[in-house]
Symmetry: C2
Subunit: 224 residues, 2 copies
């Protein structure tokens, strides 16, 4: 995209655009870069450096936390059209915890630099209100994930996960390893394997190498 | 407090006060009420009705989530001088999850009605930015609690909890039942009892009826 196209793109995606001065608009355009993230790449680690605000055009981002021994819990996922604020956690003084962001699919995005965005948030209260509101919105997803992990039984959680996957892809076949599913669910691979075997004996799924096929959706949903 | 005192109180506690019109200031004063909450009372349940913004003068609030079978996880606590925004979750469209707020000690507070506050947030972007920023700040505490529950071993978590308690009260004696500690930690009573017995055999604490005395702080902290 050239500058004019980039400006057009930002004006359509950022609801505070009309509340910016002409100078602030140009500053934002000058600090926006087009980026492609390869699949499974770690694109933000709040300990490391601060990427900036990600305006996702296509693909899928996963926002998660990780323990010292490598256990992961997925907080939420973002898709084309979504905006990721936690990848710019350094610009929000109120965000003082560590999150990781990875690309789950190849992603096309426009990234607003953290430094420029921080300045804008300080200058313009509309930008500040917008950014914090969006962050709070995502926390509703975080709370949902946390409640799942904390409160639900593994059968219920796996049923919800499989159901979400087939709803998202439109196919009854899920091409994920038990390890990957365990990571997404924030549980152990053993738990997933055991539960999938149980689902297979119940006639809910059939299992083959790196493939899970849901054969009884009704029964699957009865577990949710 | 009379109206003048109430206005003075609000002007000192709300950083957006200077950005309100005279009319908005008066509206807020007219919709502020002094409240006393008795110890252990449930003061907000987002399913039920929406209390409003709580400006805590003294006492202690506990913000937590609860599972269908009654398991609780404490998200964070607020003390005198703090402001509770999640008790007005209905005024923030971005907050779509359920939280509970209870008074852990007798509390003195000023409550701003949800209806009036909602109007103010819509009218005044400074109020909106302030409220969402404060909410995001509290989420840093939420994430901390969640990571504790998800990732840490029970020994580490109990050590942190006991250390926090003695730091807060300034006494080595903790007058809480194992049941209460389990609720605060979001774990089972059995886990707490087992771990406390282990701490006792290690010479870290001594146990008596409804009392835990920390006798070796250094050893306790070595577990954290």
């Amino acid at each position: 995209m050239n500058k004019t196209e980039l400006k057009q793109f930002l004006s359509e995606r950022l609801s505070f655009w009309q509340n910016l001065t002409e100078q602030q608009k140009n500053m934002l355009v000058d600090n926006a870069t087009e980026r492609t993230f390869t699949q499974y790449s770690l694109i933000h680690n709040s300990l490391d450096k601060c990427l900036g605000i990600i305006l996702l055009k296509s693909g899928q981002l996963r926002i998660y936390i990780s323990s010292e021994d490598g256990r992961e819990v997925t907080l939420y996922r973002l898709y084309g059209g979504d905006i990721c604020t936690l990848s710019a956690s350094c610009v929000m003084d109120a965000v003082s915890f560590e999150v990781l962001v990875s690309a789950e699919e190849i992603c096309q995005a426009v990234v607003l630099s953290a430094l420029a965005y921080r300045q804008l948030m300080q200058e313009n209260v509309y930008v500040k209100a917008y950014t914090y509101e969006l962050t709070v919105q995502h926390f509703a997803d975080v709370m949902w994930s946390v409640e799942q992990v904390l409160f639900m039984g593994a059968d219920k959680r796996l049923a919800i996960f499989l159901n979400d996957e087939i709803a998202k892809t439109g196919s009854n076949v899920i091409q994920l390893s038990h390890e990957q599913i365990a990571k997404y669910m924030g549980t152990a691979r053993e738990v997933v394997s055991r539960m999938l075997k149980y689902f297979a004996t119940e006639g809910i799924v059939t299992l083959s190498r790196r493939e899970i096929t849901v054969v009884d959706k009704k029964k699957l949903r009865s577990l949710m």
